[in-house]
């Protein structure tokens, strides 16, 4: 079954077209990275998938048209980790994670023991339990991001969408997050779609890469098919050398600066 099935999806912000005729299927339990330069439409595509933006064309989630879902149903199907978490009010990290349970209980009820347990395991998985009681606005960018991922897990979604999940993370926590994603994918069959900038990380952790260029799918396939010296030159306009890592057999990019 396809978790996400998009056919001929287009979108424009007013008169500025962003996506042109995207057709893409992600089957249940797949893990996919969306790549592309700034402005190639990665974030917009994720926003259409999660129902924030309405594109033209056909979009089915679990073989059901997205129009047939209401917001609460979508929030149990999808969890989204956004690029920049915005919090203007003093909430503790634990409160933020518990908000992931909102669509599971009635609007006036307090969280049950079950909700608390799920929040705790989610925070444990993302290594954020230590600062559960601190205010979110006091945390560093990396700590914040781990709390946001914990909230997404607390939603118990079938599909996890991430927009630059590692943007604020140091090397250790970057690797930790991607290993966590892989584990969630393997152990629980969580479908994962992540928009990424770091091509080497994408090649290491994701078996399928979708490379966008100016709102169109440029390549879609295994890392060694997508990341070639030619495609990078064409899409990013820079010269790179690609070698396959001897241990993992994955392609890795080496940048060849024009001045050196």
């Amino acid at each position: 079954m396809n978790a996400i099935h998009a056919e001929n999806l287009s979108f424009s912000y007013q008169d500025r077209p962003v996506l042109h005729g995207i057709s893409l299927s992600v089957s249940c339990g797949e893990i996919v990275a969306i790549l592309g330069p700034n402005g190639s439409g990665k974030t917009t595509l994720l926003k259409i998938f999660s129902g924030i933006l309405r594109g033209e064309g056909e979009l089915q989630l679990n073989n059901k048209n997205i129009e047939k879902y209401n917001r609460a149903e979508l929030s149990r199907l999808f969890a989204v980790v956004q690029q920049e978490p915005r919090v203007n009010f003093p909430y503790s990290a634990a409160e933020i994670v518990l908000m992931g349970r909102a669509s599971y209980h009635s609007p006036l009820a307090l969280e049950t023991r079950h909700d608390l347990e799920i929040a705790r395991t989610s925070m444990d998985r993302t290594d954020s339990l230590d600062f559960a009681n601190r205010y979110l606005h006091e945390l560093s960018g990396g700590e914040k991001q781990r709390v946001m991922i914990a909230r997404a897990l607390a939603q118990e979604p079938e599909i996890l969408l991430l927009d630059e999940p590692s943007a604020f993370l140091d090397l250790k926590h970057q690797i930790q997050v991607f290993e966590l994603l892989l584990r969630l994918n393997r152990e629980r069959g969580l479908t994962i779609v992540a928009a990424l900038h770091d091509l080497n990380v994408a090649a290491l952790f994701f078996p399928r890469l979708v490379l966008l260029c100016t709102g169109r799918i440029y390549r879609d396939g295994a890392p060694s098919d997508v990341l070639t010296e030619k495609t990078i030159q064409e899409v990013y306009g820079i010269r790179v050398r690609i070698e396959h890592d001897s241990a993992t057999k994955k392609p890795q990019l080496f940048i060849c600066p024009s001045l050196s």
Partner: protein
């Protein structure tokens, strides 16, 4: 993990409720005229002067003050949450101006617009709260429309257009005030100055019912209000439909603001200060923040009004002066603190 649990809900709310009842009792006893309490209580139902002052003059005023203080605080909480701006309040959104204008148009064009209750036996109810509600709703819709681009609400546009609308409406009110005749103008000014004064119990009950209705409506949205403070996108991801929430909050708070402005004018700073203090004390979870702010706002205005009554006794200060006296410096402090925080982030 420290999160909102039943124990904290019950503890905070009952502590505040006890404080509110004590404050109400104390404020009823305090005033320019000393009341012999034992005398008054003994003759509670015969009309001695003491009992009259206690039951007919002070108690309804204290009850009105509680409703209005609580209502202002609740409106402050929800508007701040909705706009994601800790400094939002009804004055800044042009809502209070709209309510004033609605009320004034009502006063000018339908001065005798009263609805007799039970054939006039229980007194009459003024339509002015309804006119003020329509004014508040109208200005809120206007500000909303001017800040909505491509289905998205832009908080900065809301604040800007609210401030502009408020000064525009202030000009319209001044203009109206200068074209009506002298007596009417005096009546309008008195109404605009905004102060609590003694009202019949029917009016107090009527205002309480508007405010309670609005409060319960907003309280039922507490969880969605928590989520919307994370921004529209995040709220959508967590299952909230922002447009529907915004409309309901606007209608419910207009209802409350209309009712409040119609009896007391706009009493400033309660809606800004109380939510802030409460967030610092008990956190930002609206399931607790809303009832706690209602109670705390009631306590605050109850005391502010008592100060207004006794400071220059037998003369009386408009309560707005007292709240502004505390609120102005507090607002500056908040701005300063917000500025420092955003620099250190």
């Amino acid at each position: 993990m420290k999160v909102l649990d039943r124990k904290k809900m019950i503890f905070v709310n009952s502590a505040l409720l006890i404080l509110l009842v004590l404050s109400a009792a104390a404020c009823t006893l305090l005033g320019p005229v000393r009341i012999d309490l034992s005398e008054a209580l003994k003759n509670l139902f015969s009309s001695t002067a003491d009992a009259e002052i206690l039951l007919r003059a002070r108690l309804p005023r204290v009850l009105l003050g509680i409703a209005i203080g609580g209502g202002m605080a609740v409106c402050g909480v929800v508007l701040q949450a909705l706009l994601g701006n800790p400094l939002a309040c009804p004055q800044m959104l042009g809502v209070s101006g709209g309510a004033s204008l609605g009320g004034i148009l009502g006063l000018i064009f339908f001065p005798n617009w009263l609805l007799p209750l039970a054939g006039g036996r229980l007194g009459e109810i003024s339509w002015i709260p309804l006119a003020a509600f329509l004014g508040a709703l109208f200005s809120m819709v206007l500000v909303y429309r001017f800040s909505l681009f491509h289905g998205r609400l832009h908080p900065y546009h809301i604040l800007l257009s609210g401030v502009i609308l408020n000064s525009f409406i202030a000009a319209v009110i001044m203009f109206l005030n200068s074209i009506v005749d002298f007596y009417q103008a005096q009546g309008l000014l008195f109404w605009l100055m905004g102060s609590l004064s003694t009202r019949a119990y029917v009016t107090v009950g009527f205002i309480w019912s508007y405010i309670l209705l609005g409060f319960l409506w907003l309280w039922s949205k507490a969880l969605s209000l928590n989520l919307i403070t994370l921004g529209e996108d995040a709220a959508m991801h967590l299952g909230v439909e922002p447009g529907a929430l915004q409309r309901q909050v606007f209608i419910a708070s207009s209802l409350m603001i209309g009712a409040m402005v119609s009896v007391s004018g706009m009493i400033g700073f309660v809606g800004l200060m109380v939510p802030h203090v409460m967030r610092l004390l008990i956190g930002s979870d609206h399931r607790l923040l809303l009832p706690a702010s209602f109670l705390a706002g009631g306590i605050f205005l109850c005391w502010a009004d008592t100060l207004a009554r006794v400071l220059l006794a037998p003369a009386e200060l408009p309560v707005g002066i007292v709240t502004a006296f505390f609120g102005g410096p507090f607002f500056l402090f908040l701005l300063y603190r917000e500025g420092r925080r955003s620099l250190t982030l």
